[in-house]
């Protein structure tokens, strides 16, 4: 936090000078009506069943997503096998009991009354085993040029089971806290109504409605909504206290992907890089590679190691072997998010491989590797 403050001060010395007389107002621009597009959201991998969401783009003035519930969704394999996805009845989600298979190419066809046929194609890459050879945690400093922050990192290497001719990978660092990772939290609709009466703003209420009556992996989900939508400190504190009182809690025996915490991961190889301000995902494409060098960071881990205070946390590495569309999608998506308030940036169009619509239909393989427990 202090480092963020330092960087802010150093760079904003000039910005302060500029912004002393600065003023902000609504911008007057003529925005003509734009036709909505159908949005396909489907990132598929062999470990999960087919699941696809259909919606429409919404204007920034609208509050709710518009889901499509009357589409015919078919996925065809390269051998001609047809898989039909059925509507689940909620939030534009279509599913099938089938699993995608490694190394196969899939073609998507979506037919919606009154709309041209929507198509897309993608492949699940063939499986290549990823291993991390034994290593010693040796902390070094690393300056991330895109945000001028220095990180305590340790290098590690990932080996591929074979030479990967067309390598497309995403690597992310995770940790799993066994004391928190098995807990689940639920806020009921009644509790949400109490929050509304206590002053929860309308937009925060609308966001919260999407999450009530569901067991969530984080107790801070609703606090994050408060952070985004409530400005007044006292109200925020009061509502946060009320949320903690109202949250129901249980313990489960299964691990879920969402229960893993994110950490920092950089590329340390010629073919890997992080995108803009993002320090969580390193992405790379290359030909004929046998390994990937990474820099792994976790501030709590370093502190624990320096003070010999083991927390029995597990430290994991996620390796995603991705299709070309998957890589392009994430690279442009992260960049767009990072650049939204940068006046010097060119606009970023997020990659889409959907014909007659937008969104993404892309295959990938995920491997989670336990590095060590500390």
């Amino acid at each position: 936090m202090m480092k963020k403050l330092i960087v802010k001060y150093s760079l904003v010395a000039f910005t302060v000078f500029l912004t002393l007389p600065a003023c902000i107002k609504d911008m007057e621009i003529d925005v003509p009506n734009t036709n909505r597009e159908v949005v396909v959201a489907c990132l598929f991998n062999p470990q999960d069943k087919w699941k696809l969401t259909l919606s429409k783009t919404k204007t920034l003035q609208e509050n709710e997503d518009i889901f499509i519930d009357n589409a015919r969704v078919e996925i065809t394999t390269e051998t001609g096998e047809n898989i039909t996805l059925s509507y689940t009845g909620e939030k534009g989600i279509y599913t099938s009991d089938h699993h995608p298979e490694m190394g196969k190419t899939y073609t998507l066809k979506v037919n919606i009354p009154g709309h041209m046929e929507i198509t897309a194609e993608s492949k699940v890459p063939g499986f290549v085993e990823v291993t991390v050879p034994d290593f010693e945690v040796k902390w070094v400093k690393y300056l991330y040029s895109n945000n001028l922050m220095d990180y305590d990192v340790f290098p590690l290497q990932v080996n591929f089971g074979e030479t990967v001719q067309e390598a497309r990978y995403l690597f992310r660092a995770y940790y799993f806290d066994p004391r928190e990772g098995y807990k689940r939290y639920l806020l009921t609709m009644d509790s949400l109504e109490k929050l509304k009466k206590a002053g929860l703003p309308e937009n925060a209420y609308r966001e919260s409605v999407k999450l009530v009556d569901q067991w969530l992996v984080s107790q801070w989900t609703f606090e994050h909504i408060l952070r985004d939508f409530v400005d007044e400190f006292n109200l925020k504190a009061r509502l946060a206290h009320l949320i903690q009182q109202e949250l129901k809690q249980k313990t489960v025996s299964t691990r879920e992907y969402e229960a893993f915490g994110r950490s920092v991961c950089f590329g340390n190889d010629f073919w890997l890089n992080n995108v803009s301000y993002d320090v969580m995902t390193t992405i790379g494409e290359a030909e004929n590679v046998t390994h990937a060098k990474l820099l792994y960071a976790n501030a709590n881990l370093k502190y624990s190691m320096e003070h010999n205070s083991s927390r029995d946390e597990e430290f994991w590495l996620e390796a995603i072997q991705a299709s070309k569309d998957y890589v392009d999608y994430y690279r442009t998506y992260i960049l767009q998010v990072s650049q939204r308030i940068n006046p010097y940036s060119e606009p970023v169009m997020v990659h889409s491989n959907i014909n007659n619509g937008t969104g993404i239909f892309a295959g990938f393989n995920r491997q989670m590797i336990l590095l060590f427990t500390y």
Binding site: M2, K3, K4, L5, V7, K8, Y9, S10, L11, V12, A13, F14, T15, V16, F17, T19, P21, A22, I24, K25, D26, E28, I29, T34, R36, E37, A41, L43, T53, T57, K58, T59, L60, Q61, D65, K141, L143, S145, N146, L148, D150, N203, D228, G267, N273, N274, V275, Y277, D278, R331, Q336, V337, Q339, R340, I341, N342, P343, E346, P347, G359
Partner: protein, 794 residues
């Protein structure tokens, strides 16, 4: 280069070198200022009997071929009293002129007219420094680069920025030279102030088309800035105190009448305020954050007369910016005492040096040999230190992390002016050695475990031959033909480029002239502007076999009409195409030192065309102008906008500049400039959708520390730059009070930038209201800026 092209070149050279006529003599010499003895560039010398004329070169030298016999010479130069001289000449003769300045009032009036100059050819605007001084200031700063934006076809980028966009080009496509050496980053304070100290400058030549063959290396314009040589007769000092910078310039003779020097220094005093406030306000804190800010420029020039025909010049410049922060924290824990310190520094700047030898060879040749070196560095330093004292002793830990980029140009050039009876030929050759450091990270640690990451230095070479011939056919038609041959080492393999240049002027009568020009340009280096980081992160890289040089072609057609002695009108139309312009591929960062930058960019094409109009009206006290440009500016890249052409960000359809300089009395000068530009093209995403596999963490803009809203949603738009921001306009006012008492000249300058507080959009961002409605907000940074500066000269 093909055999046919070589043959063409030889044919061209043979055509432009006519045989001298018999009984023709040469009259040559230097034209200088009578007080300072400085050479006068662009002075006109005209022989009335034979109706032949020429202009002095950058070193004041002229040579005129006339038939032997009675000669009547007229010499004139903007702001100086003209001179006439009649004599009988039977052999080659040397005549030196020393011109005196007109009185102050006349000086300003005449010089201010250079805003709409009528130079020999279209596209060339000689800018006199008095012109720059006559314009309203921006926060008290007179700025050479900003003064160019009043010209038609030259647009300002972001508000307040000194980066100029010439006929659809970008700032990196402007060849900015200081005494002939390229300046890679010509601005301070993120682009708000240019690096040129007006008091140290003699003149600026600005070309936006019809480029002489001696210029190369950029596509869109040439801004050739020359430093003063220094007063050869007596010492002179200028001191200016302003809100952003304060300046000191001193010049004088080394050997009276023979050699001189000039030293100029400029720095900001803002750091005293910013750092001082931070220190005072945190004096009692254990945790202290001290921000720092600095900018400086140091110019020095020395010139020596070796003999009347040989001169030696030394030009030096160093300037840069520093932005820093120092965080200190002292605390005690369990009997021990810990001190922590983190220092972050961003430093960037230029260094320039040039050694020039000029030599008059006979009466018809003038040789200029220049050895020069210029470089631009951009460094980031992040140093962390920790000292722990306890009963076990003292332990020190430190890490110094540095990120460095560099571009360096070393050049040897020969330039020969050859004066013939009806034409002037300029030809030359140059060789360059360039060094680039596209990005390197160096980490030093207390334990000696140093780390170096990056691709190392890249070197390349370049060779060039060029020739220009200016030929007058009768009294009415003047044509300038040029040809340039460049060879570039593009990563080990040499590539040749032939770039022809043509200028033509037809004087239909005394009041009406028609102009035509055609030019090809090559840019063998690219600027990787890292738009994925909101920092001044200029990284220059050489063109390579895979990412070839940028090229352009430009054709212009124009006219100049002198309505009467007070009123004139100038029209120019242009069409320009650019190939090989680069754009980063979405999702990549140029500051990534592991990747080969060639893989991160794609090349595209650009197209710009427009119509420029200038009206100028002047009387003895008033000079006023109306400049209007109607233009289009598009780009096309395969991966952007589905491969379709789209308007460039700075495509401004209408650009209007109204201005006037009025001398209220002999000692009070008023000026006003109103600028209007169509709003910038902008991509406004008016729709969005839920991301598949959303990134479930917060991304923070590291400059503003603002968390970026709702990372789960993807903003959707179909076309790039599909909207227009509100129009950009502002009115700037200035008034100068001048006081002269014996040898002491004083000047108070009052100015108001954006006098009616127009809130121009500097940036914009979407914001969702509590009711869920999203609106776009605009940020304006300069609603109104009054300023005052004081200048004293003695």
């Amino acid at each position: 280069m093909t055999k046919q092209k070589l043959t063409l070149l030889l044919l061209f050279i043979s055509l432009v070198v006519p045989v001298s006529a018999q009984n023709t003599i040469s009259i040559s010499g230097f034209i200088r200022d009578s007080v300072s003895a400085e050479n006068l560039y662009h002075a006109t010398i005209y022989e009335s009997n034979n109706k032949r004329g020429t202009i002095s070169n950058a070193y004041g030298f002229y040579s005129l071929s006339v038939p032997a016999g009675k000669v009547q010479l007229r010499v004139s130069f903007v702001g100086y009293e003209g001179q006439m001289l009649s004599f009988n000449a039977q052999t080659d003769t040397t005549v030196n002129f020393q011109l005196s300045t007109k009185n102050d009032l006349q000086e300003v009036i005449v010089k201010a007219k250079a805003l709409v100059s009528k130079s020999t050819f279209s596209g060339h605007e000689p800018i006199d420094m008095q012109t720059v001084k006559a314009l309203p200031t921006f926060a008290g700063e007179q700025d050479v680069l900003k003064s160019l934006t009043v010209l038609p076809g030259v647009q300002q980028g972001y508000e307040g920025s000194a980066g100029v966009f010439v006929r659809g080009g970008t700032p990196d496509q402007n060849l900015i030279l200081l005494d002939g050496v390229p300046v890679y980053n010509a601005t301070h304070l993120f682009g708000f102030v240019s690096v040129f100290t007006p008091e140290a400058l003699q003149s600026v030549d600005f070309y936006k088309s019809g480029f002489p063959a001696r210029y190369s290396g950029r596509l869109s314009s040439v801004i050739d800035v020359r430093m003063k040589e220094g007063n050869k007769n007596h010492a002179e000092t200028d001191i200016t105190i302003g809100p952003i910078t304060s300046k000191f310039t001193h010049q004088g003779p080394i050997k009276k009448g023979k050699s001189s020097y000039l030293i100029s220094a400029r720095r900001t005093l803002l750091d005293l305020v910013i750092t001082g406030i931070a220190k005072i306000s945190q004096a009692s804190n254990n945790e202290v954050v001290i921000p720092g800010l600095n900018l400086y420029d140091i110019n020095a020039k020395f010139n020596f007369e070796l003999n009347p025909k040989n001169h030696l010049y030394v030009s030096l410049y160093g300037g840069g910016d520093l932005l820093s922060s120092n965080f200190k924290d002292n605390y005690s824990l369990e009997g021990g005492e810990t001190k922590q310190s983190t220092t972050v520094k961003l430093m960037w700047g230029n260094r320039i040096g040039a050694l020039r030898w000029t030599s008059q060879l006979g009466n018809k040749f003038y040789l200029n040999t220049t050895l020069s070196s210029g470089s631009f560095r951009y460094n980031i330093h992040n140093k962390y230190e920790q000292t722990v004292k306890n009963q076990d002793g003292k332990e020190e830990i430190w890490t110094d992390v540095a990120y460095k980029t560099l571009v360096n140009n070393n050049k040897l050039q020969f330039l020969l002016d050859w004066y013939l009876p009806k034409n002037k030929i300029q030809f030359g050759a140059s060789g360059e050695l360039n060094n680039y450091l596209p990005g390197q990270q160096e980490i030093e640690q207390h334990n000696g475990e140093d780390i170096r990451r990056g691709n190392g230095t890249v070197k390349n070479e370049a060779l060039a031959f060029f020739i220009d011939d200016q030929l007058s056919i009768g009294d009415q038609f003047t044509v300038q033909g040029g040809l340039r041959l460049d060879w570039y080492d593009l990563g080990g393999k040499w590539h040749g480029y032939v770039t022809p240049r043509t200028n033509a002027k037809l004087a239909v009568n005394h009041n009406l002239s028609l102009f035509f020009s055609y030019a090809q340009m090559v840019q063998p280096l690219h600027l990787l502007t890292n738009s994925s980081v909101g920092l001044p992160s200029d990284i220059w890289v050489p063109a390579t076999e895979n990412v070839r040089p940028e090229t352009s072609q430009q054709i212009t057609l124009g006219t100049y009409l002198k309505v009467n002695d007070r009123c004139s009108y100038k029209f120019d139309s242009y069409y320009k195409t650019m190939k090989g312009v680069i754009n980063y591929k979405a999702g990549n960062s140029f500051m990534d030192i592991y990747n080969n930058w060639e893989d991160l960019v794609e090349t595209g094409v650009g197209e710009a065309w427009g119509f420029e109009n200038s009206w100028n009206y002047k009387t003895s006290r008033l000079n006023t102008w109306v400049n209007y440009t109607l233009s289009w500016n598009n780009r096309k890249f395969e991966s952007i906008n589905s491969g379709k052409a789209f308007p460039f960000k700075f495509d401004r359809r209408h650009d209007i500049n109204l201005g006037c300089v009025y001398n209220l009395t002999d000692n009070i000068e008023c000026s006003a400039v109103w600028t209007y530009q169509t709003g910038m093209a902008a991509t406004i995403p008016v729709q969005d959708y839920q991301a598949a596999g959303p990134i479930d963490y917060t991304i923070t803009d590291f400059i503003t520390s603002i968390d970026i809203e709702d990372t789960h949603r993807i903003q959707y738009f179909k076309e790039y730059n599909n909207y227009r921001l509100p129009a950009f306009h502002h009115l700037d006012l200035g008034v100068t009070f001048k006081m002269q008492k014996r040898n002491l000249y004083r000047e108070w300058k009052l100015g108001v930038y954006n006098a009616y507080a127009r809130q121009n959009a500097y940036m914009y961002y979407p914001q969702t209201s509590p009711t869920g409605e999203t609106k776009f907000k605009q940020v304006s940074i300069f609603p109104i800026i009054p300023s005052i500066s004081y200048h004293v000269k003695f």
